[in-house]
């Protein structure tokens, strides 16, 4: 076999003074980067296998290990960067499509970081959330244009709504892309927090049906695991049209990941590829979307809100207007930084638009058309902290989805190798030896902690703005000012510049 | 109400602790012909080897009698029991009356019918006094002959080797520890003993013991003469029923007891090596002269004497014997028999040997040499009569453990501790 031109990306450094040869690293590295040499009584490293996931670093009881970027340099070249060269080597050696995991990591501007949040000074008071009421409860679902009240009673019941204690949900991550333990942790946390998690397109494992009240079941083009029982098992149904990480293309769970449990959950044979077509083949046009929305409503007796999730693309505002008019109760827009278990690198890094613009454009458009209040708007794709959530809601979102942040909370170290199925943290893997590394109870606890911490921070920020109910922030763009943005960008975001 | 226990070894201790579990008040009397605080007989080989001091041989702490309100009558032999009057008559004439009586007189050595066996420097190896006597003659480079390659004989060999004595072992059988060992096990042991300079003469029967007053050599039937400074007799033991022989107490090889340790006479119990209790593997009454058995029988007897209704029906033989470099454990059935499948795995490289006796779906016995750390799991499989059919093929693994038990069984066992 010809020599590979790919040099190790990382170097494993072991402090021999500290290494006690306990071999925890050897046992923990699914990539086999650590090797114990019995003859020499030494632990050695195969740097080429290291993905820098920090599993060994974290578990080493004497902190003997550190991992560095390989200092090996190519000749400096602003155009032919190291990654550009390495990608060519890789493709020249395999002839394959480059795959990657998690969200777009290219240095496109992050617009969240170019928006600043307001606070009250003198003319109205900031509110102290520790002692005064501060409300984050949010309803997702179709709202009538007006309420009809007769004799102090509702004349017509509201369409079904999702009631969230915090306007944050765990976004669609299928059992298959992530492990059962990860799914369970998300479900347990959602249930404890009074929010929703989303099955993704992987079906719903029978052991997780008990979390139905906090579950959004997804219907994607592959229709895996979709049957009437599934549709009725959750609190809402989400039709997945697209995903921010890979707009316009389908998904593909390779057969080796279709384990017994996955086969059961997706209702497909063991070991066979699970292919999600790029489009829903029953939706080739917007009126077909309406057909699917209502077929789902028919199948569930109009008891479940139906969400439609799309990737943020160029014409997103008009598309969302169409979706709202097609009968969706909730629209989910997933920006180009959205995560994924596996996506072609070129697609992930080059297709789609930032969620900030998409969200602002959609909210503005729906308001111009006077239909914003009828449909709920959820944004997703690279939400990293509570300030991002606050900004998203001020731009016009009802709630946000977090995927990558949730995974990181559970232990993901962003090595972006999810597609290999060898996640050392037990998240993006089906290998039973790795899956058990994620203790669902610990995962759930960490998720609950994260959301509670964010909720607390959000309350602080709301209090600072003199707002004590999240709905008063929704679309309240006066609370945002742009920094370092062009006037065109400010226009699209619908906000003023800092200082205005 | 008064409890009397004849005997001061493990069964007696078990009985005291069993009684005191329920009855903290009524007096207990312990009678023993040995003058010592309760000690562990198997420790005599360690004593002889110099591994334990007499102080460390005590089976329970110095204050054992005190804290348990026991009146020990030590160094005085019980002469007779008057079952009608419920009295024990001591050799000094004292009469100790009892409400409940436990006979726990243990076992005594078998003296082989060999000419010259009465000479000096010929010892049994069962009591502390035996060890103390041997200690005096077993000097470095002295020569000893041990007659009987049995469990106790080999423990004596080990002790003597460790004292620097030149030892020759003689046994009439073709292998050592014939009741437990097969050819393979025996040859492993032989090899090891040879390494330590022990001569083992098998298929050899002793004609007579030569010497004036003291033994000076052993003459074998084949004419060989083995010179020696002293001899240890290890031809086996039998139940020590001397005290009750010829009374109305029912005796077979030992005193016959039911699973509550009751003899045929009301308020009289027997436990330990002297008793012939229920052996649940052989499914009949038989002696099971091992410590854990003695303790449990004693404990059961004690509790029942104090008014409980306890049953002990799990008696079976098991033995652990570290022999110089070998670790040997065995339990239950130790020879092939009808309906028993034998599985044996000998690993020459690792010098380990495993042998399992399986009857139907149950493990009924095993022998392990060297790789013994998980032995107790096998013992428990026997004790609980666990259906091993689903994991039988895993039994002989080097890493055998709970992990190879079915999950449900594993959880059940872990919960039931």
């Amino acid at each position: 076999m010809a020599i590979s031109l790919l040099t190790p990306e990382f170097i494993i450094e072991r402090n021999d003074e500290r290494c006690i040869r306990c071999q925890v690293c050897v046992r923990q590295c699914a990539n086999l980067a650590h090797i114990y040499d019995e003859e020499e009584d030494r632990v050695l490293a195969d740097d080429s296998k290291c993905v820098n996931c920090h599993r060994c670093v974290t578990l080493c009881p004497t902190r003997a290990i550190t991992i560095r970027k390989n200092p090996l340099e190519f000749k400096e070249n602003a155009n032919w960067t190291a990654s550009a060269i390495r990608e060519i080597y890789k493709q020249a050696e395999t002839g394959g499509i480059l795959l990657t995991g998690m969200g777009n990591d290219k240095p496109y501007p992050v617009y969240w970081d170019r928006m600043l949040i307001n606070a009250s000074q003198v003319t109205n008071p900031s509110i102290d959330p520790l002692r005064e009421p501060m409300e984050l409860k949010t309803f997702l679902g179709r709202k009538p244009e007006m309420l009809k009240v007769e004799n102090g009673k509702l004349k017509e019941k509201l369409p079904p709504q999702l009631e969230l204690e915090v306007p944050i949900m765990f976004s669609a991550m299928s059992f298959g892309s992530i492990s059962f333990n990860a799914c369970q942790a998300l479900a347990m946390a959602a249930s404890e927090l009074g929010i929703m998690y989303n099955t993704g397109e992987g079906g719903l494992h029978k052991d997780l049906r008990k979390y139905g009240k906090n579950t959004i079941v997804q219907v994607a083009s592959g229709r895996f695991g979709v049957d009437p029982e599934y549709l009725n098992a959750g609190a809402a149904i989400e039709i997945k049209i697209g995903q921010g990480a890979k707009p316009g293309i389908g998904g593909h769970l390779p057969g080796e990941k279709v384990t017994a449990q996955i086969s059961q959950t997706r209702m497909i044979p063991l070991g066979s590829d699970a292919i999600s077509p790029a489009p829903h083949h029953d939706i080739y046009s917007i009126e077909d979307l309406r057909q699917l929305i209502f077929s789902l409503k028919e199948a569930t007796d109009y008891q479940k809100p139906v969400a439609v999730k799309i990737a943020a693309v160029h014409n997103v505002a008009a598309i969302c207007s169409g979706i709202a008019r097609a009968g969706a109760d909730i629209i989910v827009i997933d920006g180009f930084r959205g995560g994924t278990g596996a996506a072609p690198l070129r697609i992930r890094d080059n297709v789609g638009i930032p969620i900030e613009f998409a969200l602002a454009a959609v909210d503005t458009r729906l308001r111009q058309e006077g239909i914003r209040s009828q449909v709920s708007l959820v944004c997703a794709g690279g939400i990293r902290n509570s300030a991002d959530v606050i900004k998203a809601i001020a731009l016009g979102a009802d709630a946000v989805y977090i995927g990558q942040a949730a995974l990181i909370a559970m232990g993901c170290h962003m090595c972006q190798k999810c597609y290999t199925g060898k996640c050392n943290w037990g998240i993006a893997t089906q290998d039973p030896n790795l899956v058990k590394r994620l203790n669902p109870e610990i995962g759930a606890r960490r998720l609950v902690n994260l959301i509670k911490a964010w909720a607390h921070e959000m309350k602080e920020m709301l209090g600072g703005m003199g707002i004590n109910a999240i709905e008063s922030l929704r679309g309240n763009r006066f609370m945002l000012r742009g920094i370092g943005l062009t006037s065109r960008e400010l226009d699209i975001l619908g906000i003023k510049a800092a200082g205005e | 109400m008064s409890y009397v226990i004849i005997g001061n070894s493990v069964a007696a201790v078990g009985a005291v602790e069993g009684i005191r579990n329920l009855d903290k008040v009524n007096p207990i009397v312990i009678i023993s012909d040995e003058p010592y605080h309760t000690y562990s007989r198997p420790l005599i080989s360690y004593y002889l080897a110099g591994k334990v001091t007499q102080n460390n041989m005590y089976y329970r702490g110095k204050d054992f009698y005190n804290t348990n309100n026991v009146e020990p009558i030590l160094g005085v032999k019980a002469q007779h029991i008057d079952f009608d009057k419920k009295e024990v008559i001591l050799e000094d004439g004292r009469k100790i009356s009892y409400t409940k009586l436990l006979i726990a007189t243990g076992s005594k050595p078998l003296t082989p019918p060999i000419e010259g066996v009465e000479k000096q420097n010929i010892f049994n190896f069962i009591k502390l006094d035996d060890a103390k006597a041997i200690e005096k003659v077993a000097t470095r480079c002295s020569k000893a002959v041990v007659i009987g390659a049995s469990f106790s004989g080999l423990k004596a060999v080990e002790a003597l080797v460790q004292r620097g004595v030149n030892v020759t072992v003689i046994d009439i059988m073709d292998r050592i520890m014939p009741r437990v060992f097969d050819e393979t096990a025996s040859s492993m042991a032989l090899k090891m003993l040879e390494k330590h300079g022990v001569k083992v003469l098998l298929k050899a029967s002793v004609e007579k013991i030569l010497g004036h007053q003291a033994a000076s050599s052993v003459l074998l039937k084949d004419g060989r003469e083995i010179p020696c400074d002293f001899i240890v007799l290890a031809a086996g033991v039998r139940c020590n029923t001397d005290l009750v022989k010829g009374t109305k107490l029912k005796i077979n090889r030992g005193i016959i007891v039911d699973t509550m340790m009751r003899t045929n006479i009301p308020d009289v119990y027997a436990a330990g090596d002297v008793a012939e209790g229920y052996n649940f593997i052989e499914e009949r009454n038989a002696e099971t002269p091992i410590i854990s058995n003695a303790y449990k029988q004693g404990e059961t007897a004690g509790q029942n004497m104090a008014g409980a209704q306890k049953v002990f029906d799990k008696g079976f033989i098991m033995n652990s014997m570290p022999l110089l470099d070998l670790s040997i454990v065995s339990a239950g059935v130790s020879s092939p028999g009808e309906g028993i499948t034998v599985k044996a795995i000998y690993n020459q490289g690792k010098n380990t040997y495993k042998k399992f006796y399986i009857r139907g779906n149950n493990l009924v016995g095993y022998l392990l040499i060297n790789d013994i750390d998980k032995a107790g799991i096998y013992t428990d499989l026997i004790r609980r009569k666990i259906d091993i059919s689903s994991f039988e093929h895993q039994l002989g693994r080097d890493d055998f453990g709970f992990i190879y038990l079915p999950k449900a069984l594993r959880s059940q066992l872990i919960l039931e501790c």
Binding site: Q23, P61, K436 | G401, I414
Partner: protein, 162 residues
């Protein structure tokens, strides 16, 4: 049985679903029982003769779990012990081997239903078993250092109520 006499011990249990087979429990157990008490580097770098781990990780990939002395209510090892070294402490409910008295006859190994007593030849030939880290204030090193909370301590009083 008179229940008032028995102190229900706390026991360590393993969640085998989340045991990751890293064996950090064993490593910390060794250190906790070495003369350097919890100093891993010194324990492993300076001692050629280290204590045995008293928790044993059994592994049959992907299944693994640690198992250590159950400190049984009715301990077989105590009854089998020929020296009286193995005793159940009536106060703590722990089964403790007095290594001063233990002479390494392995009868306890023969008797232990869990196979969690091991032969330790490190110094003196003695049986090695979990002592619930008695000297570290009953905070077992294995439980404290399990990175995935696969080991936990549970008071077994409930068992007595059955």
């Amino acid at each position: 049985m008179d229940k008032s006499n028995i102190t229900a011990p706390k026991r360590i249990y393993a969640k085998e679903d989340v045991c990751i087979g890293c064996r950090l429990c064993e490593i910390h157990c060794i250190a906790a029982h070495s003369k350097y008490r919890h100093d891993l580097i010194k324990t492993f770098k300076k001692l050629s003769k280290r204590p045995l781990p008293r928790i044993v990780v059994e592994e049959d990939v992907p299944l693994s779990f640690g198992l250590q002395c159950r400190h049984c209510d009715d301990p077989e090892c105590v009854k089998a012990c020929i020296t009286g070294a193995m005793q159940k402490d009536p106060k703590t409910g722990l089964v403790i081997n007095d290594t001063e008295r233990c002479i390494g006859c392995w009868t306890c190994i023969l008797a232990c239903p869990y196979g969690v007593i091991r032969r330790d030849y490190t110094n003196k030939k003695v049986a090695s078993k979990c002592d619930f880290c008695l000297e570290s204030g009953l905070e077992p090193a294995c439980v404290k250092n399990c990175p995935n909370e696969a080991l936990y301590i549970k008071n077994t009083i409930k068992y007595y109520d059955l």
